[in-house]
Amino acid sequence: MVAVAPVIDVRVQAEDFDVGAEMAGLERLGGGAVGSFTGIVRGGAGLTALVLEHHPAMTHKALTRMAEDACGRWPLLGVTLIHRYGALVPGARIVFVGTASAHRAAALDATMFLIDWLKTRAPFWKQERFADGRTAWVEARSADDTAAKRWDADKGDVMDG
């Protein structure tokens, strides 16, 4: 067996994605264990859309660095990160994290790590739009910072976005 570089697939896009197809791609890497997280716009309180703005020049690079970082921490065969931008209605997918590994804990821990980091280190901003015309920028949550900091033990050089 030859060690193969992990397959990193990062996409920042307005359009939706096919979760089944993404999972199938990770399954084909042969590790035996595929983990995933999908984030979806939650409705309620008159929300009509979540509008995601991002820093286009930076986003793809930032997500790629996160995926590479995950591959340095866990024995992964593949990482797929997809993050949408633009106006997304309740029920729409926002983000997908998928990982493939020979080890189930590696796949799921890396998935958790990546979604924690996406919440706190990816240059995206969410604005809520409501039926009555109001808009509100989503505030960063300290709980997200706390979750992300769990992964910092061995890293001294990272910054919160």
Partner: protein, 85 residues
Amino acid sequence: MAIEMLYFAWVREKVGVGAERIDPPATVRTVADLIAWLAARSPGHAAAFAEPDRIRAAIDDRFVGVTAVIGDAREIALFPPVTGG
């Protein structure tokens, strides 16, 4: 030397533009200096940068702290804490 500024989210809304070219004096050494200097440019800038603690930054597409030295940065982005994922 001219710097391309990028603003996102409510920073962009308050400043009123998403990008502008600026040429700060040599006394503006760090990102914190820059934020203070920008706040004097217009009422919109003043509103955007009234609470410097709420501002995050990236220089040439890398996140930095506000004590980071601008140096020969070509592009600096200022924005609220991120809320992706």
